[in-house]
Structure formats: structure tokens, C-alpha cells
């Protein structure tokens, strides 16, 4: 880092920090659903990226309808799209749990393979339905501009929206898991299924709703994703390996850990990519994460629960 003055370095860190912020949002949005499905239920859902893609395609369809059929609705379609994306992925997640995951709870490695297969099928369905080319949503006017913070710093509004959705969603997941009766049931089921059953919790129903909710969150994440990037059939699967690493690195059952590790990995990657090539930045970041995991396999913020 020889040739840079302190001031320039600060500027670089700020600039790259902002670009890292959008990567952070993508990681965290995807990781939130995984933190529920993997962190709470211990199920590896390799099709999680495809659920995100599904949410993104639903948003695309809504924006398409809004811009072509009822143009006066263009300004307001986004909230509708978020709700529809959630509902669509929630229902699909519910069905997947009912017909696939349910039979594999005591075979985690097999779940991994089955959901990978599901992901392949979903990808191909996307490809046949929407074509292999990436689709972009029609953005409403109010998302197009940018917010001028100072003379130098200039933040695009769609980026701000994604950050906002990420924050709201994270807080919502936190309250759902740690401050609601449903969260208590989920955690009770995770910690001791037999006792939870004995205490009158319908654990099968809890499992089904938990999985469906995790998928629904992926759908909302997909809706948010459309505002910063275009959607292709393999969009979600591009991030799946990284996101699993994010969740494991943070400590599977810890929401705070997931947020911290998503932030750390995204920022490290984007700041390093200024000094090195993009691929080397990613290699170094991921290798560091894998290296740390070897010394601390339980992740950064391990829960105190005996497992």
C-alpha cells in the first residue's frame, strides 16, 4: 500500500466501503433465511439461492405488469412485489418441506444433495420460462436518483433502499426468533425435540413454518436484489457457497454472528479488491475465513447451547 497518503487511504476505504455495503446486503439478505433454516433447524438448503432468484423473478413479473399493463401503478409496485415474492416463496418452501425435507431430518448430508438437485431443477425451470438472459426490472422514478451526502460522496437511492430493507428484515428476524412465542417454539424444537413435543409444541408444524419462513425471507431478499442488479437463472447459486461460509463463520445459531461475518467478509473483499485483482481479493478473503474456521470451528459467535 506504499504509494498512498493517509488521506487517500481514508477516501479509498470510504469508497470501497460503500461498494462493499451492497455486497454486504446481498450476503446478509441471503444469510438471514439460511440462519433460520440452517442455524435453527440444521437443514442445509442448497436451493436457497434459487428461492432468492424466484423472489427476484416474481418482482420482475410484477414490475412488468405494472409498466406494461397499468402504467399508473409503476410508482407503487415495489411494496406489492415484496409481498408477492414473500408469499410465492413461502408457499413453495412449505411444499418443499412437506414433500422433501421432512423425510430427511436425520440425514443432513442427504438433505444437502437433495436440495442441490432441487436447485438444479428450479434453475432449469427459470431458464426455460424466462430465458437464459438476465432480466432487469423497470425501476420507478423515485428510485432512480441519488442522495448527495457531501460534495464527494453520493449515494444512489436504490442502494439506500436495499440497505433499509436489509435493516428492517434483520430486525424483524431478530424479533421473530428471540422475542416472539413462535421463536421460543422454534428454539425449543431445535434444542430438544422430544421435550418440545412433550411440552405441547407441534414440532412438525413448527418445522414446516420455519422452513417456509426462511424461504419467504429469501424471496424478499430476491425482491430487494432486483433493485441493484439484474436477475438471471443462476443469480442465486452464484452466492450460495459464500453465503454458507458467512453463516458458518458467524456461528450457525447466532444472528449477531451472521451480521458481523457478512459485514466482515463483504468489506474485506471489496476493500482488498481495490489493491489486488477482484479474484485475488475473493481468494484471500475466503482463505482467511477458512483458516480462521480451522482454529475456531464453532464460528465467531458460538451459542452457549450444548450441542
Amino acid at each position: 500500500m506504499g504509494g498512498y497518503t493517509g488521506e487517500e487511504l481514508t477516501a479509498i476505504f470510504l469508497m470501497q466501503g460503500f461498494s462493499g455495503l451492497s455486497l454486504f446486503c446481498v450476503f446478509l439478505l441471503m444469510a438471514l433465511g439460511l440462519a433460520i433454516i440452517f442455524g435453527q433447524m440444521g437443514v442445509i438448503n442448497m436451493a436457497h439461492g434459487e428461492f432468492l432468484t424466484l423472489g427476484a423473478y416474481i418482482t420482475y413479473l410484477v414490475s412488468y405488469v405494472a409498466s406494461d399493463v397499468w402504467p399508473f401503478l409503476l410508482d407503487y409496485y415495489f411494496p406489492v412485489a415484496i409481498i408477492l415474492a414473500f408469499v410465492g416463496t413461502f408457499i413453495l418452501g412449505y411444499l418443499v418441506e412437506r414433500f422433501l425435507i421432512r423425510f430427511l431430518y436425520n440425514r443432513p448430508l442427504d438433505t444437502l444433495l437433495a436440495t442441490w438437485g432441487l436447485g438444479l431443477i428450479m434453475q432449469q425451470i427459470f431458464r426455460s420460462t424466462f430465458g437464459p438472459r438476465e432480466k432487469s426490472v423497470v425501476m420507478p422514478d423515485w428510485l432512480m436518483g441519488s442522495y448527495q451526502a457531501t460534495d464527494m460522496v453520493d449515494i444512489p437511492l436504490n442502494g439506500l433502499l436495499v440497505v433499509g430493507i436489509t435493516i428492517v428484515l434483520t430486525i424483524a428476524v431478530f424479533f421473530l426468533l428471540y422475542r416472539s412465542r413462535w421463536g421460543i417454539k422454534v428454539r425449543a424444537t431445535t434444542q430438544n425435540r422430544m421435550m418440545a413435543n412433550a411440552a405441547g409444541i407441534n414440532t412438525e408444524r413448527v418445522d414446516r413454518l420455519t422452513f417456509a419462513l426462511g424461504c419467504g425471507i429469501a424471496g424478499v431478499a430476491g425482491a430487494a436484489f432486483t433493485t441493484i442488479a439484474s436477475t438471471g437463472p443462476t443469480t442465486g447459486s452464484l452466492y450460495i457457497v459464500d453465503t454458507f461460509l458467512v453463516v458458518v463463520f458467524g456461528g450457525a445459531a447466532s444472528l449477531l454472528g451472521t451480521v458481523a461475518s457478512a459485514f466482515g467478509i463483504a468489506q474485506a473483499q471489496s476493500i482488498l479488491s481495490f489493491f489486488l485483482s477482484g479474484s485475488m481479493a475473493k481468494v484471500i478473503t475466503l482463505m482467511t475465513v477458512v483458516g480462521i474456521l480451522m482454529f475456531r470451528p464453532q464460528g465467531l459467535f458460538a451459542s452457549k447451547v450444548r450441542r
Binding site: 442445509i44 440425514r107 444437502l112 432441487l118 432449469q124 457457497v241 454458507f244 458458518v248 475466503l286 475465513v289
Partner: protein, 407 residues
């Protein structure tokens, strides 16, 4: 009359008994005799390529089926073996005479395109064929050993191991693609023509390489059978089913896992080296996460508890892949996905499981038809060919789950 099989069994038992040896013999006849007789050299070369995946699948049977360690990064080792071989062949192909038009003659063409003027240090050993042969085995073994020590000594297992190996496979791909000047980038190492002055693109050479690959595969299957039927193999199964109990009996569970992981990686690497020789290039697409997880499905389809089944699985899935994806590329992806789900939901023991379920009545019929010797022979032998009855399979899954929870 009844004493004879017992006496013979003493050396055969080391490989799982006469039944297993006959099954390996059948494979040998199929790949060394039947396939070459009934297909032209173009097809045979393709079959040889499919058989290189049988090495990986056999390795996965050892470490996943019997060790309970699912590695989603077997492509790393397949790739390391393949790249070691490719580097040797590439250096031979880019001798100073062949590359006289380059600005720096004597280095591979992609290095020249990327403004490298000197051969990097890690390419130097690949001038020698002996060193290459050693490195094909040593590099993956060392890498697997390092991963194994780091993971298993810290008691990382189950899903975490799978995720981390997948991440390592992903890192490897990014690294190879990113370091274009040193590795050939996304195109890989191409234009491999000769092995120690011997043109490997002629039909005769392709025959020789095919037979060498088959011979190596059969040796690997025998070695795998030997491992599984040794005392160590018993320990491996015990560890998969009751890890804590083995640990409390005084064994170092981590060492058992490290050994099986290294063994699996070495077998995969040998497959990779033959892949390069037969296909004539090596590229990062055989290393990454997608390739690696496909290798798991070869093993799962064949039967995760049967070395021999896995070899059939690798061959058949690849055969289906190339015939389906030639005519209906879209259908193949869906078929592949459905295969993943079906093999997990409907037949977790794979083809080998189906065969042992449905072949047992047939074998019994034969046994009653030719009563003389088969009664004596098939009694002890049908048992090892169906190593795990369904009940113990269920228990194994539960123990896999509990092993994961205990970490």
C-alpha cells in the same frame, strides 16, 4: 469337499471374499474385453474418460460411504492430479523448438501471452517424468493431509466439513482462473500432444492409455477392497456408526479420518491424471463446486457402500449425461436434479443396493438349482456383498445426525 472353499478363502477374505473378487473380475472383463471389442476408438476414448470418474467415486465410497465424511471438494484432488500431469505434458509440448516464435521460447504459450518471461518455480519439477509421477500422488495427498489435520483434529465433521471443502473447491477455481499466467486461466492447460516423445493422439496411443486406465482402476478397486476388509476398515465402520465409542476405546478418531480422506484423494488424483492423458487437456471446470458435487452423485447413484457399484455409477451417469445432453441439453439438467432427489429419497444405497435386493432371489434360485457347491460357497459370501441391512442403515443415519450435533 467343503474344506476347499474355506482354505481358499484365507487370501480372498482380504479383499472381501470370493463374491467381491468375482464382481471385480466381471468389471475387468467388461472394460478390458467387452467395451474395446464392441466400440470404435472414439467411443472407447469417451468411455475411458467416464472411467476416470470411477476413481473419484471409489474414493468417495471410502470416505463418505464408510467413513461418514462427505467431501464436496473431490474435484480439488481430481484437478490436482490432472493438473500435475497436464503441467508435465505442457512443458514437453512447449520445448524451445516448438515455441520458437514466442518472445520467450521454452515456456508454455499462455505464459508468453501473459508477459511471463520465466518459468515459475512450481513448474520446475514437472520437467522430469519421475518427479511428475510422484507429485501426482504427493501433492493431493499432502493437501488432503493438511485439510484433514486442520479439520479432524479440531473435530469438525458432518455438514461443516462438507461446506468447508466446498468453499475450498470454490477458492481453487477462482485462484486457477484468476492466475491466468501461471495456470492457463479458464481455458486450462490445452494442446497436450505427447508423453515422453510418444504421440498420445494416435488411435494406438488411445488404446494403450485406455487399457492403462482400466488396469489402474482395477488396482484401485482391489486396494479399496483391501482397506475395507482390513482391521482398519472395521475401525472405519465402527467410527462412522459410533464415533464416541471408538474414541473412548482409545483410538484417535482424527487419524482414522485423515487416513481415509487422504486415501480417497490419492485415488481421485490418479483418476485426474488419466483424465488429462486421455482427454488431452485440463481445465478449472473439472475442479469447481459443480463438478465436485456431480462426483458425489456418481458415487450415490452407484451405491455409497459399494466400491464396485460406484464404478458402475460413475460410468452410467456419465454415459447418460453425454447422450442426453447432446440431444436435449435442457432435459439433462432436470434429469440430473431429479437423480439427486431420487437417489436420496428412493434408493439411498444406490444401484448396488437395488442389485443386492433384487439379485438375492435370483441367486437363491441358482443356489437351489446347482446345489452341489453353491450351498457351501454362497452361505458366507452373500453376506459381505450386501454389507449393510436396512436397519443398520437407519441407525447409521441417526448416528450421522448425532455426530453432527455433538460438535
Amino acid at each position: 469337499m467343503s474344506t476347499q472353499p474355506v482354505m481358499k478363502a484365507s487370501w480372498m477374505d482380504k479383499f472381501g471374499g470370493r463374491g467381491k473378487l468375482i464382481q471385480i473380475l466381471i468389471i475387468a472383463v467388461l472394460i478390458l474385453g467387452v467395451l474395446p471389442l464392441f466400440s470404435d476408438i472414439f467411443r472407447l476414448n469417451l468411455y475411458g474418460k467416464y472411467l476416470t470418474y470411477a476413481f473419484v467415486a471409489a474414493g468417495l465410497v471410502l470416505c463418505w460411504g464408510y467413513g461418514g465424511i462427505l467431501s464436496l471438494g473431490q474435484g480439488i484432488f481430481f484437478g490436482l492430479g490432472g493438473y500435475c500431469m497436464a503441467m508435465f505434458l505442457k512443458l514437453e509440448a512447449s520445448s524451445p523448438e516448438n515455441t520458437a516464435i514466442q518472445s520467450t521460447p521454452g515456456i508454455p504459450d499462455f505464459m508468453d501471452w501473459n508477459q511471463l518471461t520465466e518459468l515459475p518455480w512450481f513448474w520446475q519439477p514437472f520437467h522430469s517424468f519421475t518427479a511428475t509421477l510422484i507429485l501426482i500422488v504427493a501433492v493431493p495427498a499432502l493437501f488432503a493431509f493438511l485439510i484433514g489435520v486442520a479439520m479432524f483434529k479440531r473435530r469438525v465433521g458432518g455438514v461443516y466439513f462438507a461446506i468447508i471443502t466446498q468453499a475450498i473447491a470454490s477458492i481453487m477455481t477462482i485462484l486457477i482462473i484468476g492466475q491466468q499466467g501461471y495456470t492457463g486461466g479458464i481455458n486450462g492447460i490445452t494442446d497436450l500432444r505427447s508423453l515422453m516423445g510418444w504421440d498420445i493422439q494416435t488411435d494406438f496411443a488411445k488404446y494403450v492409455l485406455y487399457f492403462a486406465c482400466c488396469a489402474a482402476l482395477i488396482l484401485c478397486l482391489l486396494a479399496g477392497q483391501f482397506i475395507l476388509n482390513s482391521r482398519y476398515g472395521q475401525l472405519l465402520i465402527a467410527m462412522r456408526d459410533q464415533e464416541d465409542r471408538v474414541r473412548f476405546s482409545g483410538y484417535d478418531v482424527a487419524n482414522i479420518k485423515i487416513f481415509v480422506f487422504v486415501a480417497a484423494s490419492v485415488i481421485s488424483a490418479i483418476g485426474g491424471a488419466f483424465f488429462t492423458l486421455q482427454v488431452g487437456f485440463m481445465s478449472p471446470s473439472f475442479v469447481g463446486t459443480v463438478a465436485s458435487i456431480e462426483m458425489v452423485i456418481f458415487c450415490a447413484v452407484g451405491g455409497r457402500l459399494s466400491l464396485i457399484g460406484a464404478a458402475y455409477g460413475a460410468f452410467l451417469v456419465n454415459l447418460a449425461k453425454s447422450s442426453l445432453s447432446e440431444s436435449f441439453p435442457q432435459l439433462w439438467v432436470v434429469a440430473m436434479g431429479a437423480l439427486f432427489i431420487a437417489v436420496v429419497m428412493l434408493f439411498p444405497r444406490g444401484l448396488a443396493g437395488l442389485v443386492s435386493d433384487y439379485a438375492a432371489p435370483v441367486r437363491n434360485w441358482f443356489a437351489s438349482a446347482f446345489k452341489r457347491e453353491t450351498v457351501a460357497a454362497s452361505g458366507p459370501e452373500t453376506r459381505p456383498s450386501a454389507p449393510k441391512p436396512p436397519e443398520s442403515k437407519a441407525r447409521d443415519d441417526v448416528s450421522m445426525a448425532s455426530a453432527q450435533e455433538s460438535h
